[in-house]
């Protein structure tokens, strides 16, 4: 899968990622952390989109569930990072199992819409949690800790924690997707009948992929809750987030692991720069998305790959 030259690309990206806190001030490190987190969530979307051919328009659900679990645990006094993150991961995975089991009975446009429907339901659940501020959301008392070893209140430390988690996820995913699991998944995307005929139940494989994807998005949500020390339905559970995650994936390149991360970086970067220039930044940002679709066919990461291959 990974060609010789792609390693160079990966190494360059990794080096840049590691170096970020050495150069920028706190704000930029924080911005980079946000990129990492959204990259992680976009990656989760891409596992379904790029490898199983399933377009989920409802990943805000898992993202938000992770964030809420983390927020609630921390405010209840559970601050041990491993516990909190694991709880978010498992919680999101369970929700994803339920939603996936139901959604995967449909396909195509109907699948897109039913995932959206479930995400909207969770949005309204979040909105009705009056003890947790309803639409306004709630502030976290503090960030997670790692047994007193690391101080996550330090922006740089938190950045490296997030980066490390992303690296681990990237590694695990690349192993997974190259193993039998990934082959079956891609097979069921391309030709479900044949895969079933060979004896692999494609429904079960897709469901597992859905759960994995949901849990990664949940982890990302938990990290975002910690980064902002704030949890609220808008910005975490709303459908625009699901849309933005999809856009990040397509922006980068679907069907690659690093593509979504690059996509997230570019997406957030442009949004940031353009909103610095004018309050009407969306006037410029919208056409930019259009141009990407109309002019660049395979996504930006693919462009990078090509540039390196030459």
């Amino acid at each position: 899968m990974i060609r010789e030259r792609e390693w160079i690309l990966i190494l360059v990206l990794a080096a840049v990622a590691v170096a970020v806190p050495l150069f920028g001030d706190g704000y930029y490190t924080k911005f980079a952390t946000k990129v990492i987190i959204f990259g992680m969530a976009a990656l989760a979307v891409d596992i379904l989109l790029g490898y199983a051919g399933l377009v989920s328009f409802g990943h805000a659900a898992f993202f938000g569930v992770g964030a809420y679990i983390a927020g609630m645990l921390i405010n209840a006094g559970v601050v041990e990072g491993i516990v909190v993150l694991a709880a978010a991961l498992v919680g999101a995975a369970l929700i994803a199992l339920v939603i996936g089991a139901l959604s995967l009975r449909t396909s195509g446009l109907y699948f897109i819409m039913i995932t959206l429907a479930f995400a909207q339901m969770l949005y309204y659940v979040g909105q009705s949690l009056r003890a947790y501020g309803g639409t306004d959301g709630f502030a976290l008392d503090q960030r997670i800790e790692f047994g007193g070893l690391l101080d996550p209140n330090d922006t740089t430390t938190f950045y490296y924690v997030s980066l490390a988690l992303l690296a681990v996820i990237l590694f695990l995913c690349s192993r997974f997707l190259r193993a039998e699991f990934g082959v079956v998944l891609r097979g069921s995307r391309d030709n479900a009948v044949r895969i079933e005929a060979v004896g692999f139940p494609s429904y079960k494989y897709k469901l597992v992929a859905f759960a994995i994807s949901g849990s990664i998005a949940g982890l990302a949500g938990a990290l975002l809750a910690n980064l902002n020390q704030y949890v609220a339905p808008p910005g975490m559970l709303n459908w625009e987030i699901s849309g933005e995650l999809l856009v990040m994936v397509i922006f980068g390149a679907a069907g690659t692991l690093l593509g979504p991360v690059v996509g997230a970086a570019v997406f957030l970067f442009f949004a940031e720069i353009l909103s610095e220039i004018t309050e009407h930044w969306m006037l410029l940002f919208g056409p930019l998305l259009l141009l990407r679709v109309l002019l660049v066919r395979d996504g930006l990461y693919a462009l990078l790959q090509k540039a390196i291959a030459k």
Binding site: Q127, D136, G235
Partner: protein
């Protein structure tokens, strides 16, 4: 792309260093997105104040940094940190809606920045969440409603139907009005923020036959509500009581004649008879061609408070203790008339009752009827243990 980010990081980073004899003032509000109308209204008051002060707040050359939190709590946190870490601001003002305020106040206070909230007054920040660096110059969510509840009682209205938007500020407002009203509460209904069609609720309201209805709706929802209320013919039988934000110069054009005669309470009015207010209203009309909104007025007032406070300490903006003490005294000429801070640094102020009316030339305005209640304190200050 990361490289690009890095390059930009370096170039921007290199340019920021705070000089000693200047004020670095941040203005954060919701400038884009659906609630952008609110922040932009606020910014007009801000711009006018800065203009009148010749760009020098408290006589100190002032550098202004504008931040747009896009109505999203996550973004509000990001922007707050940007203002402090990159722009090195000493004071942040603005703050539009309660959720973005709650989210951005935390990182700002953690970094020792003084915050002058000029619009939302969420109750958690008035009680346990109060902070020596946090000044809310606008109002506490309860104040306007408490005044309205008392006004309804005084007026002898017996059965009132209560409606509001289903979120923290909505609950705060409606419950405060109910608490101060001595008559019978017919019902307490909350509708979701995204619900624009009130046909179901209006049918229930008609069936309940109350003497009056108290509503908390703002912006487009206030427009939709009043339109449908009038189309259903309810305006002929059941009068509406609400808050100043229900109908203001931003909404007149959209609401039209339907809002005529509606009663509202607010802490400020264009007709208040004091020198600073006359000056403010005249200048605002000249600059923008219409009456100011409450959002603009409160923001303008906040800047004037800051101006006076800085002047009184001789422009030494880096002396935080002195600046805080000076702000707390609130020794300035407020366009609201009487103004002072409570121990939790939320205002104690008069709340006025007003009615939407038409001038001789046909333009609409909020007609001042009088004081609804004097010297209102908020209910949360007793929980505030200021450190």
């Amino acid at each position: 792309m990361r490289k690009l980010l890095l390059a930009l990081t370096l170039s921007v980073f290199a340019t920021t260093h705070a000089a000693a004899d200047e004020l670095r003032l941040g203005f954060m509000s919701i400038l884009s997105g659906p609630l952008g109308i609110l922040g932009n209204a606020q910014k007009r008051g801000f711009d006018l104040a800065i203009e009148q002060l010749g760009g020098k707040v408290g006589g100190v050359p002032t550098k202004i940094f504008i931040a747009d939190n896009k109505g999203n709590p996550g973004e509000a946190v990001q922007q707050a940190i940007k203002l402090v870490d990159r722009n090195k601001v000493q004071i942040v003002t603005g703050m539009a809606a309660s959720h973005t305020t709650m989210a951005s106040v935390k990182p700002l206070l953690a970094r020792g920045v003084i915050v002058l909230g000029a619009n939302a007054g969420p109750s958690p920040l008035a009680g346990k969440g109060c902070n020596k660096n946090l000044f809310i110059t606008s109002f506490h969510n309860n104040q306007w409603d408490e005044a309205m509840g008392e006004y309804l009682t005084k007026k002898g209205v017996k059965r009132v139907y209560f409606m509001g938007m289903d979120y923290q500020a909505g609950w705060d407002h409606v419950k405060a009005a109910i608490g101060a009203f001595k008559g019978e509460k017919v019902a307490e209904v909350y509708t979701p923020l995204n619900q624009m069609d009130f046909s179901a609720e209006l049918t229930q309201l008609r069936a309940a036959k109350p003497d009056a209805v108290f509503v908390f709706y703002v912006g487009p929802l206030a427009v939709a509500f009043i339109k449908q209320y009038t189309q259903a013919g309810l305006h002929k039988t059941i009068p509406i009581y609400s808050l100043g934000a229900f109908s203001d110069p931003l909404l007149y054009k959209a609401q039209g004649d339907a809002v005529m005669g509606i009663y509202m309470t607010e802490g400020w009015n264009t007709e208040l008879d004091n020198e600073p207010n006359k000056r403010f209203v005249a200048a605002f009309r000249k600059k923008y061609g219409r009456d100011p909104t409450g959002y603009a007025a409160r923001q303008y007032d906040a800047i004037m408070l800051l101006d006076a406070a800085i002047k009184q300490i001789g422009g030494k903006v880096d002396d935080k203790d002195a600046l805080r003490a000076s702000l707390r005294k609130a020794d300035f000429k407020s366009i609201r008339g009487k103004f002072r801070f409570n121990t939790n640094q939320f205002p104690i102020q008069d709340i006025y009752i007003m009615q939407v009316a038409k001038r001789a030339d046909g333009s609409m305005y909020q007609k001042l009827l009088g004081v609804a209640k004097s010297d209102i304190k908020d209910p949360d200050y007793i929980n505030c243990k200021m450190k």
